[in-house]
């Protein structure tokens, strides 16, 4: 190693540290950006176009309309509103934190510049993107010469629309870097300068994205209203949005009132509880009547895929968690062979899904003599067709007079739910076991001295202290079941029809069948992503409050 100069100036050392860190981050960061972050924007871009193998014309929200009917407008409207609200919240935080007040100006300026720079740069990139993606189309019919693609790639940067987008982007990016640097330098003694810069940039981006989404929505609603007028019908979308907003507000208010009622006593609690129930009823009624009307023109297969996704999660997640918690609690009772049990329980989780789902499709085979039929035969139940049976489980149990919306998951889906519970319970056990290990033994000791029973200890010490683990597992399991693919792909049969096809399968089919439609597939994927996002946030808000962190 070369001799280190004794006195490197502090600034130079910081510079070197920064550069080294970025060099360390670069390969992984590039890959995560390319295959983890950029695809989200890319998917949205694709979903706004007619896109079969190659980019075609811009169609606005048409792909979403095809998937969701009029509900697409409501969805985008709310997404835009949420983005604007979040941006506003960040701004408010910035204003609140800045001391003295005037310090809010430099980060605001820098945030605006950064937002403009990111937007203009993105615009340039997404102008370039279809041009370079269409290179194979432009080269069609030409002889395949090595390097032709590369020269066409260089030529793509010279396209007039690309060049036109490039120079403003470059100028604003440079300006933004300078302004940001200035803002941080100016506030050198202010430790929160960096944080304020990020806050302002985040706020700017959210506001801009919200405005863009709102614009997109209004555009689409305008076009749809015009088309409706030409038909002689009308599009009641605004009144519906207002109605749904009121419904959601009522439900949210009911929740608020309810949580407050829990802290009051006696009659008061009853009155408040009744008020909450009334609000809930009104809001629920608004949602239940309006949302289906908006969804009337939605893609039937998508709706079926969606309900399968929901039933799958609702069927699998609670059992996974309960079995996992039960086994972990038993394993924790100072018994012999904890390691061996843990190892065995964990086995289904790490073994290849392809192999284990093959086993399950034989165990639950439709043949008269399959092991599952033997098993239920022992209880006097007639043989079932299992994975070939699309009929809902409750209809099978209680007879065909059960209305179809109460039929529940098809028997085929129930088998897949059983499989999923089998695979994931061991994982839940291991994680719960770790959570139990984190609870201090003194608490149990103290409770035992106070004479608490086993159940009381479990109810009042174990469960509350375990709630972060439970919450985490609930989140992971829900997201996991929402994007399940392999096990369903392996166990689906033509006879079961769409009874087991969840959103992932439906999306995958849209892009692998004879005429792949990437635009529509991306729109579906984006809707699913949206639902997962909303679910995550809701679980965070609702369960997050009940979680007790030590």
């Amino acid at each position: 190693m070369a001799a280190v100069p004794r006195q490197i100036s502090r600034r130079r050392r910081i510079l070197i540290e920064n550069l080294t860190a970025y060099a360390f981050l670069f390969p992984a960061g590039l890959l995560i950006f390319l295959f983890g972050i950029f695809p989200v924007a890319f998917a949205f871009f694709v979903s706004l176009h007619r896109w079969r193998r190659f980019p075609d014309e811009y169609v606005g929200l048409a792909n979403y309309e095809r998937a969701l009917g009029d509900f697409a407008y409501a969805l985008f409207f709310y997404a835009a509103a949420a983005a604007i609200a979040a941006g506003g919240y960040l701004l408010w935080r910035l204003f609140k934190e800045a001391r003295p007040r005037l310090w809010v100006v430099p980060p605001l300026l820098a945030g605006a510049a950064n937002t403009a720079a990111i937007l203009l740069f993105t615009r340039w990139f997404f102008t370039l993107l279809p041009v370079i993606l269409n290179i194979p189309v432009r080269l069609r019919g030409q002889e395949r010469v090595q390097g032709l693609f590369v020269s066409e790639l260089f030529a793509s940067f010279q396209f007039p629309e690309v060049v036109a987008a490039w120079f403003p982007a470059l100028a604003v990016v440079l300006a933004a870097v300078m302004v940001s640097y200035g803002a941080v330098r100016l506030a050198r003694r202010n430790e929160t300068a960096g944080r304020h810069l990020w806050l302002a940039t985040g706020a700017g981006l959210l506001l801009a994205l919200g405005a863009l989404a709102l614009n997109l929505t209004l555009e689409a609603i305008g076009a749809a209203a015009e088309a409706a007028q030409a038909d002689g019908s009308e599009l009641p979308i605004w009144s519906q949005i207002v109605f749904i907003s009121l419904g959601m507000a009522a439900v949210a208010a009911a929740y608020q009132v309810w949580t407050r009622a829990a802290r009051r006593w006696g009659d008061r609690q009853l009155v408040i509880g009744l008020a909450a129930a009334a609000l809930l009823l009104v809001g629920g009624y608004a949602l239940v009547t309006e949302v289906p009307r908006l969804l009337a023109a939605a893609d039937r297969n998508m709706m079926s895929g969606f309900s399968v996704t929901i039933m799958y999660a609702a069927g699998a997640v609670p059992f996974q968690l309960m079995i996992g918690l039960g086994l972990a609690y038993l394993l924790f009772q100072k018994i012999r062979g904890t390691t061996a049990f843990r190892m065995v329980f964990f086995l289904p989780y790490i073994m290849p899904f392809v192999a284990t789902s093959m086993v399950f499709s034989l165990l639950f085979s439709h043949r008269q003599d399959s092991l599952a039929n033997h098993l239920i035969g022992a209880f006097g139940i007639p043989p079932q067709k299992w994975l070939l049976e699309p009929i809902g489980i409750f209809q099978l149990i209680f007879g065909p007079q059960i209305p179809s919306w109460l039929a529940g998951p098809g028997l085929a889906l129930v088998v897949i739910i059983i499989y999923t519970v089998w695979t994931y319970s061991g994982y839940a056990t291991v994680v719960f076991l770790a959570g139990l290990g984190n609870i201090s033994g003194e608490l149990y000791e103290a409770a035992r001295i106070d004479g608490a029973s086993g159940w009381q200890i479990f109810r009042n010490i174990t469960l509350p202290l375990l709630s972060p683990t439970t919450f985490f597992l609930m989140l992971v399991a829900t997201i996991g079941t929402f994007q399940a693919f392999t096990q369903i792909w392996m166990m689906r049969t033509p006879a079961a029809g769409r009874a087991v096809d969840n959103m992932s399968i439906y999306i995958f089919e849209r892009i692998t069948d004879a005429s792949p439609n990437y635009g529509y597939g991306s729109a579906l994927a984006f809707v699913l992503f949206f639902v997962i996002l909303i679910l995550t946030v809701t679980q965070n808000r609702i369960a997050g409050r009940r979680v007790f962190y030590g």
Partner: protein, 302 residues
């Protein structure tokens, strides 16, 4: 803790009287054993079925009448398992190697270096874990197709991405989860070690290589094991980017064998399935301690 209690127990219980086994203990073991049977049962039946005749499986037998050892060589040959295994081994080795190479420095930077935008970049990276794979499937496929054409144009057929190892491995070489797991561990290494190394004239790279890595065998193993599981099980992405047997991974090969080539040879399917899980089983057996502890220490899964 158990050891601390035991001597007391020994003092309390008189040596002559045999304590009756409490029913709670019996119940606990009973439930746990039931759980173990349910967890293991399908594996045992798979093993048993792989040694049956196809008709015996269809008849719902639990054990084979006669051990059909020949199922294994036949499945190996018919399902072309040699090729698929080799493919999966290659894919897994490249993926896991690349993952370690890229994720370890990134995790080190997040854990032990100070740079502009660290917390924001870390937050952005963590948030990518919330993005479902299906949402990025289509754009990533388009990206890979495009890269494939580009590299094919530059250096010919051999460097295309599609139907070749880059499309199967490169997108999975950096995982936010692995970086997170490693970072959690790296951040716990005492600062004094770094001070000492710096006085001895070591830079970050040297410190990472000769101090941090030797201390971090368990988390590195966990990350490698997760990478191994991920590529050994992958089905959706290979279905999209591979068209020929030269790079089809084992999951895809097995899926094709059961659904297209031999839908009625149930015994061969089971034999092939057993062969697919054997490498995983061996690896799990040797690493399970570090592995389950790696999961429980971070409580996360990618």
């Amino acid at each position: 803790m158990a050891d601390a209690v035991r001597p007391l127990d020994a003092v309390r219980s008189s040596p002559r009287r045999v304590r009756p086994i409490p029913w709670r203990t019996v119940l606990t073991y009973g439930v746990l054993l039931l759980g173990a049977v349910v967890a293991l049962g399908p594996f045992l039946w798979m093993l048993s079925a792989s040694l049956m005749r196809s008709s015996e499986i269809a008849a719902g037998r639990l054990l084979p009448e006669q051990l059909q050892i020949n199922n294994y060589p036949e499945a190996w040959r018919l399902a072309n398992l040699q090729q698929f295994m080799w493919n999966s081994v290659r894919i897994t080795a490249i993926t896991v190697g690349g993952e370690l190479l890229f994720c370890i420095p990134a995790a080190y930077a997040f854990a032990r270096m100070h740079f502009f935008g660290r917390s924001v970049l870390f937050g952005i990276m963590l948030s990518t874990m919330m993005i479902p794979a299906i949402a990025t499937l289509i754009p990533n496929y388009l990206t890979v197709v495009w890269f494939s054409r580009l590299s094919e144009s530059i250096c010919g057929e051999a460097c295309k991405w599609l139907d070749n190892w880059p499309s199967l491995t490169i997108p999975f070489m950096a995982s936010a989860f692995s970086i997170f797991l490693l970072r959690q561990f790296f951040a716990q290494i005492p600062q004094e070690l770094w001070e000492a190394a710096r006085i001895d004239g070591a830079g970050h790279l040297r410190f990472l290589w000769s101090v941090v890595l030797p201390l971090s065998r368990a988390p590195v193993m966990t990350v490698a094991m997760f990478g191994f599981i991920g590529s050994w099980n992958a089905l959706m992405w290979p279905l999209l980017v591979v068209q020929s047997d030269t790079w089809r991974p084992i999951a895809y090969g097995l899926q094709k064998f059961t659904q297209a080539d031999a839908p009625n040879e149930l015994h061969l399917q089971m034999a092939a399935a057993v062969l697919m899980i054997v490498p995983m089983l061996i690896l799990y057996f040797f690493t399970q301690r570090q592995f389950t502890e790696g999961i429980t220490s971070t409580g996360l899964k990618g």
